[in-house]
């Protein structure tokens, strides 16, 4: 007779649910319990029938996270939070890299691998609202970030205008008046940069500080190298800034490196603030002030929205009844050495 999950539970002295949790690789099982269940599985030579289970549910238990770049720490940290949030629903997360290329993003939303996944969380860079409107695939999907604001899909974001305003106001509050912005972008993909720049301009206006275009540095991307180069150009420019708001932490870490090379004191001569609160900035010298989006909340909200869509689908309700939701996650200003000193 074939060994059942119940047999394993009995031998291990745990509930069938616990055996199921171990078999599914859920991480919240205590190590000692896990060992006991594994020993029982080995003793009875139990083989869980995973594919039958998937078929019964009509699901694979796998969701995809598609991001532009895997090695950008913000996305890597967000991915970790999403893996944890998905684990609470018993889902495995597979991560896909789009490079921000529109055709790849279109494929992702087009059901490119609809037989593989139950749901999709996508952080688009190039996708248009029209691309989304044309979508016929019905795989549950949640979008992250600013790119397709007010589009026809559930959407999780933070208030980037307010956050940009807060970062700039923090620098103004230190008495700085020649505040640079690094990370402006002219490309269509630069929606995030545009809203952060709007916040920067609003804060300047509120403080009565005139906007000076020469203090705004455009960058092709949001990498350390871009920040290092933009900072060098600003130092060589006509108006030397006394503070810099970088539109992400990588740009700020690049800027800090250039300032160290030039012997500029931070924050005494130039105060620096970033955006994202990646771990690097908690260990850099000096540590980096930043805007910290609540990544855990972004992950939880995204997974919850996906779960809602799956439930709606399961209940057979019409999609039309369930309009797209736009949910804001929290953020906070984190003040560290790069603006406050030691």
């Amino acid at each position: 007779m074939r060994t059942t999950l119940r047999d394993v539970a009995e031998l291990a002295g745990v509930s069938p649910k616990t055996v199921s949790n171990v078999v599914n690789g859920y991480l919240h099982v205590r190590a000692e319990t896990r060992t006991r269940v594994e020993e029982a599985i080995a003793t009875l030579n139990y083989r869980p029938n995973l594919s039958a289970r998937s078929l019964r549910r009509g699901r694979t238990g796998v969701i995809a996270l598609a991001v532009p770049e895997l090695d950008v720490p913000y996305f890597a940290e967000l991915a970790r939070h999403l893996v944890a949030a998905a684990d609470r629903h018993g889902w495995t997360v597979l991560v896909d890299q789009t490079e921000g290329v529109r055709e790849r993003e279109r494929q992702v939303i087009g059901g490119f691998r609809d037989q593989l996944i139950d749901g999709l969380i996508l952080s688009p860079l190039a996708l248009t609202v029209a691309d989304l409107a044309e979508r016929t695939d019905s795989t549950p999907m949640v979008l992250l970030g600013e790119r397709v604001h007010h589009g026809p899909a559930d959407h999780v974001l933070i208030d980037n205008v307010a956050a940009g305003r807060d970062a700039t106001a923090h620098l103004l509050g230190l008495g700085r008046t020649r505040i640079s912005a690094i990370g402006a972008q002219t490309a269509a993909a630069g929606v995030t940069a545009r809203v952060r720049l709007r916040g920067y301009r609003e804060a300047l206006a509120q403080a009565g500080v005139p906007f000076d275009e020469r203090l705004v540095a455009a960058t092709p991307r949001f990498h350390r190298a871009d920040g290092a180069q933009a900072m060098a150009e600003l130092l060589d420019g006509p108006t030397r800034p006394d503070a810099v708001f970088c539109f992400n932490d990588l740009l700020a870490l690049g800027a800090l490196r250039t300032l160290a090379d030039r012997g500029v004191r931070v924050p005494d001569d130039i105060a620096v603030i970033g955006f994202d609160d990646i771990e690097d900035g908690r260990y850099s010298v000096p540590t980096l002030s930043t805007i910290s989006p609540d990544k855990r909340q972004i992950a939880d909200l995204s997974v919850d929205l996906l779960d809602q869509q799956l439930r709606v689908g399961a209940a057979g309700r019409a999609d039309a009844e369930h309009g797209p939701q736009e949910v804001f996650a929290a953020y906070r200003l984190v003040e560290r050495e790069s603006t406050l000193g030691r």
Copy 2:
């Protein structure tokens, strides 16, 4: 009549192969060509029949990369190289996080999602040779790293003993004699730490410098926080080191932060070298000397081994004829400010 790929090629004035490349989202197509093909696709309302294609090949075109932690920069950077290498074969890479938990790693090798993927690249932390020997799933697989050396699977690694020796010899060459090692591990999973420690000891022995256990700091993990704490404990210990070999760059970045907090000059008072050559260390203050594994080569070798296995499978040859291969990738010593000064 249904629009075919050939119709699109004709309208766009390109070869059917180029249309196929665009449809598959391969990244080596020139932007201008891509646009022309996309316009032709839109004009003709062409819908590629992806699932039929997958069925014909009997493949999904998807390979999985399973790593312990997505937000460890070494794995994130390796993932990016693997995505590029896989793209040259027309494969999409999905990344899976195991947390280094043995049961999750066992599932990954056990064909947990064998219907989803054509091949698997796994960087294990907890998996045993016995786990591998028991494997019945036949999905092509390549292992990375030191964990299951000489196991029954294709395997890509670098010579960690030699690399550990080179890192230590570099510090000895600066005239340092009280050289600490940070990152020793006692857990079974600490195979990488053990081989790097062996290299450290060999270099000391070759230089006639006695091994001093009090200079070796064990850490629970390889994160920045571990390096920061270990460095603090060494500074408070009986023998103050004049150099530190950290078993990865994150540990070294944590150590640098502690040294800055304590006002210790790097490299004047203490020289620091890491391991991995992650981008963070090229922008830190000071920049970080390190061992740089050739991540691009590791990625290329892994994908090539997977491709070989797929071809062997396709040709119907017996697996037995194709013994497991162990392939070494290159590494080099990179000397920066944390050992050489500015």
